[in-house]
Symmetry: C3
Subunit: 315 residues, 3 copies
């Protein structure tokens, strides 16, 4: 498989698929991310990437993801070439291929962060140039840095990656995030899926978990699941996936909500995660609870991306 | 009042309302702004904010204001996370609250500059996070850095803040700028308002001036006012405020224009200010006059914002 | 002529027209560009422009050109104030003149890179302010940095500027690029024009070449021309120039295509250039040929712009 696991982080040439990272590489990366969280303004470390340039080439806007990458580069003193309108990019509009665009941008930047609406675009980009490419989401394809930051958050909050029971809640059919996460964690976790009927976890992921010997089951009892898991990973029911079927959307929405009652059922040492943005699937009353890890999770995206930039730029 | 005057600049946690600044704080800030105007490329001072990141989170575009803030951060070596499409920000479009967005951005940036279309948005943002927030204009609410740069310009050009007579000319009803300025200067200035009938200064500001013992009067004699004031502050009649009533707009426009005749009536030591952009309310023939201070005023925005960033980031 | 050749690069105040550069200045600039291509991340040279700010003020989007300039500034440690929506720039939309906008931006930035849809806009901007202005394309007017990077590519690839035969192919009527290049090279090159009838090189450029004693001829034999030139400069037939006349566009398109057969006819020491983006006027099969210089040409844009920034900022 192109981009499959290499012998270690030092040989990593790009970040295109979650499957590129084996257990050893994850742990190595998380140690670097820990160090990144300690970088202070004005310190020597904060100029580590001085003189390097990162291009954020976004064919669809995703301000949150873009700012997280640009923050990571900025925190290490690197420069940023930013565009969130690459879709209207005059060259693309004139019919230029993705490969030509990427080769041109490689002329200006040392590393390219690509967001695209087509599955497989990141792999095509990585194959077209020598410089490293980071996949910041390619349509229904992958979003590996989200899976990395989720896994890092579990490691960082719970202090371990093994013997963890994860409850995935919400839209498990369409959520690229939970699907990638399940793939990344499949070697060392147990899963419980809690989802309304129409957005249940799809069979491909279940088969992947089976193939890796990971345990999973489905449940409709959110309170029960909350009481037994170490991580309760809530997701948003994505209205935009339902198209005209707004009645189905309304039926799904609000079925499984994390509120004070759910928090009360949870273990003291458990955490609540969410990829954000949220609507009302986590009640604001939960925010003050120290087990509400979702804003720390977003912040961990900064540290994981700092670590990835350091690794890929071989600094 | 939330955010009201604190004991001094060193305790300032954010910049949300003009009322946060008392006389002592203004003077302290202006001394810092003076120093900022001396920062040279390549100097030690020009890396003062190295490793800090500022997010310019703009829910409505204001390129001028955004560039001024980003210039201030850049001049001190800080990094910039920029978005002027926060309104279409995918998360906001999906229904995320301002508070959630701000908390997420706080994870990436050390300071947030917010432009929003809703009065009070900056206060909500400042209350949601620990990191400092600067209000870059929140709808019909406040635009305190504009008031600061205006006041700094008066201090910088005239060498004092007391015993100054200010003539405010133009659209005094709708101009957030002149309203904020009147509030900031109310303790130590005399005012003359020169405005077409339909865009006269509103009663709330007049009452605030009265309450503070500030002198004000209204006049229709621009030449007379020009001859007596120290500062002639011209503003644009804002077409966009008139909606369909274009005949009213046309009636107001051009009633009070600053031209060579007005300049000739002014004292040698007086100055002309304007928040820009201008249309024809100041004739281009005035630009070469040394008393035309409006482009210096725009530049002072850079120095004031550099000073604010330094103060709020506690460097 | 305003902005015509000055006595040397050290007196250059802006970069508005290709005609500002005489032979000596070009050679001096190319030596600096060579040095720029050696600047390494983390080196002393990579902080050369630390504390300087460049504003990319784009009234029409051109992501490629913008990123190239921003990359150049970033590679030398300078800061960037970026906008590609200056056309919707709230101030411009409110009726502010270009001169006022430029004067305001001068208050924030040390150098302004202007892209505008109106011929002559860059000259107006340069006349309005003291700080240097670089023309990044002003409508049907000039795009001097493209001509500079093209000429630099010839110098860099062939090792000389004299005794070079250039074949210009494709849309020679509308292509600002080839027209500017012909102007810049008119003192020391021979030209062969290969173009479909409706997009032939216009008489004004032919007259300019005649006036400078440059040799030129027209040909319909691409293979023959390929075998004799040192530089085969292919261009895109620009669909957007044909408006409704799509049949004319289709008739032109594909008449002269560079493919393996053309490459086979070329000399071993010749190169193929293209300003990019390309559609199918150069077959992808040519990309791997070492004589395919077009992506190196794009990269040279970075080095030329780094050199220009250094020269204009007098560092």
């Amino acid at each position: 498989m192109p981009g499959a696991c290499v012998s270690g982080l030092k040989d990593l040439k790009n970040c295109v698929e979650a499957q590129q990272f084996d257990r050893a590489m994850l742990e190595e990366l998380f140690v670097i991310a820990d160090a990144m969280s300690e970088v202070k303004p004005g310190s020597r470390e904060s100029t580590m990437l001085q003189g390097f340039l990162m291009s954020t080439l976004f064919y669809e806007p995703s301000t949150r993801t873009r700012l997280s990458f640009e923050g990571a580069m900025g925190k290490l003193g690197g420069g940023i070439l930013s565009t969130e309108s690459a879709g209207e990019y005059s060259s693309a509009a004139k019919g230029e291929t993705l490969e030509d665009t990427i080769r041109t941008v490689e002329g200006y930047a040392d590393i390219v962060v690509l967001r695209h609406f087509t599955a497989g675009a990141a792999r095509r980009a990585a194959d077209a140039i020598e410089s490293p490419v980071i996949n910041a989401g390619d349509g229904p394809g992958q979003h590996p840095t989200q899976a990395l930051l989720d896994t890092y958050t579990i490691y960082n909050e719970l202090g371990r990656l093994d013997d963890i029971k994860v409850g995935l809640v919400g839209d498990l059919a369409n959520g690229r995030t939970v699907r990638s996460l399940a793939t990344m964690l499949c070697n060392f976790e147990n899963f419980v899926f809690v989802a309304p009927e129409v957005v249940k976890m799809k069979d491909d992921i279940k088969a992947e978990l089976d193939a890796n010997g990971a345990k999973w089951r489905e449940s409709e009892d959110l309170l029960g699941v909350a009481s037994e898991v170490d991580v309760l990973y809530q997701t948003r029911i994505q209205k935009e996936r339902f198209g005209d079927r707004l009645d189905e959307y309304e039926a799904c929405r609000g079925v499984y909500t994390v509120d004070e009652k759910v928090m009360a059922a949870m273990k003291k040492t458990s955490i609540v995660m969410h990829p954000l943005p949220r609507l009302d699937e986590i009640a604001p009353e939960c925010d003050a609870d120290p087990r509400a890890a979702y804003f720390r999770q977003a912040r961990n995206g900064l540290f994981i991306r700092m670590a990835l930039l350091k690794v890929l730029l071989k600094v």
